[in-house]
Amino acid sequence: MKGTRARDIIFITLIIFAITILAIPTLLGALSSIPPIDLRTIAINYLNNTYNPFNQTLWTSSPEAVAAIVWDYRGLDTLFETVVFYSAIVAALALYREILGEKDILKGKGLSVIVQRATAVSMVGILVVGFATILHGQLTPGGGFQGGAIAAVTSVIAIVVFSRLIIDKSRLSYKRLLLIRNAALVGIALIAIIPIIPFMFGDHTFLSFIFQNQVKAVNSFSYPQIIVDVPMGGSIWFYNLFEGLAVITAFSLAIIVVFYSEELSRKTIEGGEIGF
């Protein structure tokens, strides 16, 4: 107990020291003028070109600058971040590989009937809001990550309120979720590759690059700019849709796995001796 107190005192001193160290350069203006009066040049470029019909070689045809940066200007970046995201989920699933897809032995009954019915109605609402966020991702704030994170909480609430039996009762079994997730990942890859397919099959006059969206100075390939009667953002719409499906299913899988009952989960560390 005495040792902890000494440790705490050392840490508090260090914290005050760290705050001072950080605060001095801030006050001296290391982060440029505070708060910034004008935008940085790169931000001006992005904002100016995102939806600029007068300069169609640089635009993305999506009025929302954040979605445009995520999926067009820095699209390759986001692709690799998606890979990191998948690796983390796959790693989490792999720790449970002994019991994946097994039926649980719990016989729960969930919360009271009032909560169950109110949640059932609101789950429909959550899904609608999530999908609307995904599908309007290029027009209003939203997109694949946001809508997916919103809609994925449906499965969480369902498991909490209705108990784990809802997984067997609903139509979304473990294998189907896995299938949708992989299909969505393939979809992202496909949309990214489509612009360079003619080049791959020998048409060397057709210069284009991976993750291309709208027409560029060197080539004439372009995803559609308008869907029915609203701006579409070309490939951004597809990426939003696929990423949304991927996020929903990946998080649902992870949650289903983490929610296995303790008795079943202990199977995963059986076999190895209980040691270190």
Binding site: R7, D8, F11, L14, I15, A18, I19, L22, A23, T26, I34, P35, P36, I37, D38, L39, R40, A43, I44, Y46, L47, N48, T50, Y51, P53, F54, P63, E64, A65, V66, I69, V70, R74, D77, T78, E81, V84, F85, A88, I89, A91, A92, L95, Y96, F145, Q146, A149, V230, P231, V247, A250, F251, A254, V258, S265, R266, T268, I269, G275, F276
Partner: protein
């Protein structure tokens, strides 16, 4: 006069974010309980994300209301675009933070499964306790 209040408040925000970051670092390093470490880690992530967003903000000019970087007019004239440029905030930090948050969640899920396995293995999540258990076993093996 108004601008001074704004600058003072902005400094307050930055300072409190520094305080939050340091406290969370204290929590991550010093607290022996793994769950407490996890809670501190999430707050640390949030604070750093907040810092990034804060740098993308800008001062309000008189007569202008800032807006998020979303264009609402779908057949803009050059006048509309110029106005948009005057009012919108920086979209780049937002795009970076967006992916960072989701990936942070995925990594946190992985950490949680690891913590659960640690608990099933050792019967505790206290790092001091786990270290003591390991030392005991090593002493038994060598003796």
């Amino acid at each position: 006069m108004g601008s001074e209040i704004q600058i003072a408040m902005y400094m307050t925000v930055i300072l409190s974010l520094y305080i939050n970051i340091s406290i969370c670092m204290y929590g991550v390093i010093s607290k022996p309980n793994l769950i407490k470490k996890l809670i501190s880690l999430t707050i640390l992530q949030d604070s750093i994300n907040m810092f990034l967003i804060l740098i993308g903000y800008r001062l309000w000019r008189p007569g202008i209301v800032l807006q998020p970087p979303v264009l609402l007019d779908w057949s803009p004239t050059s006048e509309v675009l110029k106005q948009f440029l005057e009012r919108a905030v920086d979209p780049l930090p937002q795009a970076l933070v967006l992916t960072a948050i989701v990936i942070g969640l995925a990594v946190n899920i992985f950490l949680i499964t690891v913590i659960l396995h640690t608990y099933r293995h050792f019967g505790t999540v206290d790092m001091d306790e786990i270290g003591r258990l390991k030392r005991v076993v090593i002493v038994e093996e060598t003796a």
